[in-house]
């Protein structure tokens, strides 16, 4: 139990939940959709992940969770999991944000501790990712840029939902400076399905980011549409917009759905492929 660096952790021997119980799956029109939900990783797996990622994983890391869409006939699949998403986080520190009171803190520190300069393991600690899912495609077909939008009208119809899940992949409180979270929702209807992978980040008094990846599949035609949108806005601007409302502002600042109505799309891609 004592690890190489001399640290000592709690009971690693506690039994893990049976993975089968944590897994849900449905097969509809040749597509198999699977979700897995387990508690956050324990110290051992976190150390392994840290070694592989080269950055410190978020505080709440649901490393065993995933959402996967497979098409067994062709071997095609798209996977959403924490490791692949975090692998796309900037690891150099070039895209690093600073907390709102950083300037004040730094100025004071420099007066007193000139010798403490080194920033420990710089990386994008807001865990901002542009992850769009990990695609496996044995026959070589890939997503191509496209103009075809996801047919919202079809998705607004009250078709029965055969399968639904909401899976958290990671979450971090940014050391009490806000929130960063990546989660994945999926709903399967008789003729089509929609997956939404959303990264939501609020750095208090600094910035908001919402990055959505939607995967839409029309089962009949095997058409897969993948849309990625990125929204970003300064904290003050959002606060200003909310100041006119009489609503519960702290609640809205936690609600990515509401915030998407206040923050314009600044970047995005639209792609399409056929899986048949």
């Amino acid at each position: 139990m004592a690890s190489a660096n001399g640290s000592f952790n709690g009971p690693a021997d506690t039994p893990l939940p049976v993975k089968d119980e944590a897994t849900n799956s449905v097969t509809q029109a040749g597509f198999k959709i699977t979700t897995q939900k387990l508690p956050i990783l324990k110290a051992g797996p976190i150390e392994e992940m840290t070694d592989r990622l080269k950055i410190t994983p978020p505080e709440m890391i649901f490393g065993d969770n995933c959402v996967r869409i497979e098409h067994p006939a062709t071997g095609w699949s798209i996977d959403f999991n924490a490791f692949d998403a975090l692998d796309r986080v900037d690891k150099t520190g070039d895209a690093m944000l600073k907390v709102s009171y950083s300037k004040e803190w730094q100025q004071n520190r420099q007066k007193q501790f000139e010798d403490i300069k080194e920033v420990v393991k710089p990386f994008d600690w807001s865990y901002s990712t542009d992850f769009k899912g990990t695609v496996t495609s044995p026959n070589g077909s890939t997503f191509e840029p496209s103009e075809t939008l996801i047919p919202l009208a079809l998705l607004k119809r009250p078709d029965p939902i055969l399968f639904f899940d909401d899976v958290m992949l990671y979450e971090d409180e940014l050391a009490d400076n806000g929130i960063a979270m990546l989660s994945c929702k999926v709903r399967v209807m008789p003729a089509r399905m929609l997956l939404l992978s959303r990264f939501f980040m609020r750095l208090d008094d600094v910035i908001f980011r919402i990055r959505d990846t939607r995967v839409f599949i029309e089962f009949e035609t095997g058409e897969v549409i993948r849309e990625y949108t990125s929204r970003e806005e300064k904290y003050d601007v959002v606060k200003q917009k909310l100041a006119m409302t009489r609503e519960d502002i702290p609640a809205i600042m936690r609600d990515a759905n509401r915030l998407t109505q206040l923050i314009e799309i600044s970047d995005g891609t639209l792609e399409r492929m056929i899986v048949k």
């Binding site: 004592a2 640290s7 944000l97 004040e104 004071n108 919202l152 639904f164 929702k185 709903r187």
Partner: protein
């Protein structure tokens, strides 16, 4: 039944007390806390707890597992509020217990015990929702300003005593083995999950066997809370003093090289954005050399050498801190010189982590003599004699899970299907 006992009973049922009672309680608590130094002296036996974060039902579970106040002596290392749904009930109950049994419960300040943080992370909104005004939040914040910044635990035993030592002859082999237990991990039913003797720690990895097959577990495995009667009979000349343990919410500060410097701070204020007081509540240990800056642009990180140097200089055997979520409930680092204790199971009702509390037993080898309760007297001289690294006290970790979901009217675990777009 006094009004205070009535308030305790009401809060134990997770029902808030009226605003005027909160005001009175906070006033009494402030008077009491005002008398405490920045670093409170605490005698072992004591049970050290980490973050609670408004998880009231899990706090009740903690008391079930660790023993009730005043039977068990508790030290809570801050972050009573925010995140969870019952910050108000959790904090007011702890405060009532503090006022009712001031010598049996110690509360120190966490970074969430601040006006600024509670307005963002839930406690302010909760007060507003439950009382219709921010008055109660304001009263509580005034108490926050008076909370101590740290605690110094003295009189802890170096070796854990199993219940069986009380009836095993002191000269036998097995009792020597029992006395050499440094770390013991128990589950919420007081069953031993794991035990680690002091000698084997450095030489080799402890055996990774399942609890049921472990030979040491042939001994009786049900053990009551520490400090419930048993005193040590450790014979011989070997010292059983586990050294002093400093408890703070976050960690060390480059401005603080001695505990006396903590004692000199003016603590009665909102947690500042920088300076020693801020560091004590915010900093984190990390696998680095010396001091480092957090990549977030504010806050210090400190390495193994900093902890070892500080412990040596202050004649400490261990630093106990909270502040960071650890999945196993506790995490010892830097050759057992610092431990993180986390006491909020299934954090935010979705992490699936376990929680832990740390029990330090009383060192009874000095015939029941208890060093004076609020300070350092006599510790310095001992330091002169012994310049080696101090062995930390025996640590008994009780690990527990979240209270049953159905007892708190929480939303169903299964997500409700929605027509998201």
């Amino acid at each position: 039944m006094s009004d205070l006992d009535k308030a305790i009973a009401q809060l134990r049922a997770c029902r808030p007390i009226p605003e005027n009672q909160v005001k009175e309680l906070c006033h009494k608590a402030r008077e009491l806390l005002l008398e405490e130094g920045n670093v409170v002296g605490v005698n072992a036996p004591v049970t050290i707890c980490g973050d609670i974060h408004g998880q009231f039902h899990d706090l009740m579970e903690l008391f079930r597992v660790g023993g009730d106040v005043p039977d068990t002596n508790y030290l809570f290392m801050g972050d009573f509020v925010d995140r969870g749904f019952y910050s108000l009930e959790s904090f007011l109950l702890l405060l009532c217990l503090k006022v009712r049994y001031p010598d049996r419960i110690t509360l120190i300040r966490g970074n969430h015990e601040s006006r600024q943080i509670t307005t963002v992370y839930g406690f302010y909104d909760e007060c507003l929702r439950k009382y219709g005004s921010a008055n109660v939040w304001r009263h509580c914040c005034e108490v926050f300003d008076y909370l101590a910044l740290g605690a110094l635990v003295t009189g802890a035993s170096k070796n854990l005593e199993s219940s069986e030592t009380s009836y095993t002859d002191a000269g036998t082999q097995s009792s020597i083995e029992d006395q050499d237990i440094e770390i013991e991990i128990l589950n919420s039913n007081s069953e031993v999950i794991n035990r680690f003797p002091r000698s084997s720690r450095d030489s080799q990895l402890p055996p990774k066997s399942s609890p049921l097959s472990s030979p040491i577990l042939d001994t009786p495995s049900r053990i009551g809370p520490v400090g419930t009667g048993a005193t040590s009979s450790s014979g011989g000349s070997r010292s059983n003093d586990g050294g002093a343990v400093l408890c703070v919410h976050g960690g060390l500060s480059p401005l603080i090289d001695t505990i006396d410097k903590i004692r000199l701070l003016d603590r009665k204020q909102e947690v500042p954005h920088e300076g020693a007081m801020c560091d004590l509540l915010w900093s984190d240990p990390d696998e680095i050399d010396g001091w480092g800056l957090s990549p977030r642009g504010a806050g210090f990180l400190f390495g193994s050498d900093i902890v070892k140097c500080f412990n040596h200089k202050n004649d400490l055997s261990l630093i106990a801190r909270a502040h960071q979520l650890v999945m196993e409930g506790f995490k010892e680092m830097f050759d057992n010189s610092i431990v993180t204790v986390w006491s909020a199971p299934n954090y935010c009702y979705r992490c699936g982590n376990v929680a832990a509390i740390l029990e330090l037993a009383e060192d009874g080898s000095n015939g029941g003599y208890i060093p004076r309760s609020n300070g350092d007297l006599g510790r310095k001289q001992e330091m002169e004699r012994d310049l080696r690294k101090r062995d930390p006290p025996g640590r008994r970790y009780r690990v527990f899970e979240a209270a049953p979901q159905d007892s708190r009217g929480m939303p169903a675990k299964k997500p409700v299907a929605d027509y998201f777009l």
